[in-house]
């Protein structure tokens, strides 16, 4: 259940961005989460809800883009989708596979309201 720690990190990053850039409201958080991060989406949403309750971020929309696991065979360079965590090249049966996609745990974007009075 590290989703709660992950939720904490997400919220502190968002608050930091708000403070630094003068965003008054964040209405949506866009996340990009790789298949190999073991994040359970429901648990993460539960954590985010619990931690934002009663704060200015309460009710914020969270959009999650899941990134499927993608590997590259170090032997024949073939790139392929890794299904069920079988790290074996479908062409040459090589087992030295580099993970090229699927480890992401990023905040990709925020939908924000900017405090224009500050800029003026």
């Amino acid at each position: 259940m590290h989703e709660l720690s992950i939720a904490e990190s997400i919220i502190s990053t968002v608050r930091n961005e708000m403070k630094l850039n003068g965003y008054t409201t964040v209405s949506e958080i866009g996340l990009r989460i790789g298949e190999m991060t073991d994040i359970v989406e429901d648990s993460l949403r539960f954590g985010l809800d619990a931690l934002t309750k009663g704060t200015s971020l309460e009710g914020v929309e969270v959009k999650i883009e899941t990134v499927p696991l993608q590997g590259k065979c170090e032997q024949c360079q073939r790139e392929f989708r890794i299904v069920e965590f079988k790290f074996v090249c479908p062409d040459c049966q090589g087992v030295a596979i580099e993970v090229i996609l699927g480890k992401e745990l990023d905040i990709s974007y925020l939908e924000v309201e900017i405090d224009t009075t500050q800029e003026a």
Binding site: S5, T13, F87, D106, I107, S108, Y109, L110, V112
Partner: protein, 231 residues
């Protein structure tokens, strides 16, 4: 409303601290292993054995993480650990780099060549948190299912070494060594595998030899440590 692309890593703070730790470990020539497993696979037993065999030869420190109690840290001290630091996470299911950094403040890295970080018993959460280690060592035991690698693929993928413990009990369980190995290797073909029994000592010589070589490879000049000891 405006959409702002921010592209921030959620764990960037942890990664920043881990990079700082890795730099310190590297400049002090300390080999660092992050030991992970389910509860009860034998992390502490493996460390007790390792201390008994190598503490005189390789100056080492141990950081032992647990949700509650410093029982493991006490066991490691009793087994001859000169420098043992407990981390009680108070509920957190994994160690993060900040906890490790804090626990190291009183350890002089120039006095040691090997640091073991015994993570919280959990095969899911610790896989996401880089602690600045050279590698993760994942431990399973023959009283667990031989499909552990399939159930927790990320951890096996992110580890470099697999230790299979309790091989003295093989006859009493349905654990298939062959399946366990092939399951693990289908997820990570580069895993090096050690079969051991921390109770009887079987297979541990290979583990000690591997550790000794690993430490020597990171810091090939033993004078480095002797000089530091004299200081």
């Amino acid at each position: 409303m405006a959409r702002i692309e921010i592209e921030k890593k959620v764990l960037s703070e942890n990664e920043k601290i881990a990079a700082r730790l890795r730099q310190q470990f590297s400049s002090s020539g300390v080999t660092v292993l992050n030991l992970v497993s389910s509860p009860g696979s034998g992390k502490t037993s493996l460390l007790e054995r390792t201390l008994g065999a190598l503490a005189e030869v390789i100056p080492m420190a141990l950081v032992a993480g647990d949700v509650q109690t410093d029982n493991d840290a006490k066991r490691l001290e009793a087994a001859g650990g000169q420098i043992v630091r407990p981390i009680i996470t108070g509920g957190a299911c994994h160690l993060d780099a900040a906890m490790v950094e804090k626990s190291l403040t009183e350890i002089d890295l120039n006095q040691i060549r090997l640091l073991f970080i015994e993570n919280v018993g959990n095969l899911v959460c610790p896989s996401s948190y880089d602690l600045g280690e050279d590698q993760k060592v994942v431990l399973i035991s023959t009283t667990e299912g031989d499909d552990k690698p399939q159930k927790y693929p990320s951890m096996f993928r992110r580890s470099s070494t697999l230790v299979i413990n309790k091989i003295d009990l093989l006859d009493y369980t349905d654990f298939s060594m062959e399946s366990a190995r092939s399951n693990a290797l289908s997820i990570n073909g580069k895993l090096s595998v050690h079969e051991v029994s921390c109770r009887t000592g079987t297979g541990l010589d290979g583990w000690y030899a591997w550790l000794t070589e690993l430490v020597a490879r990171k810091n090939p000049d033993p004078k480095h440590i002797e000089e530091n000891h004299r200081l």
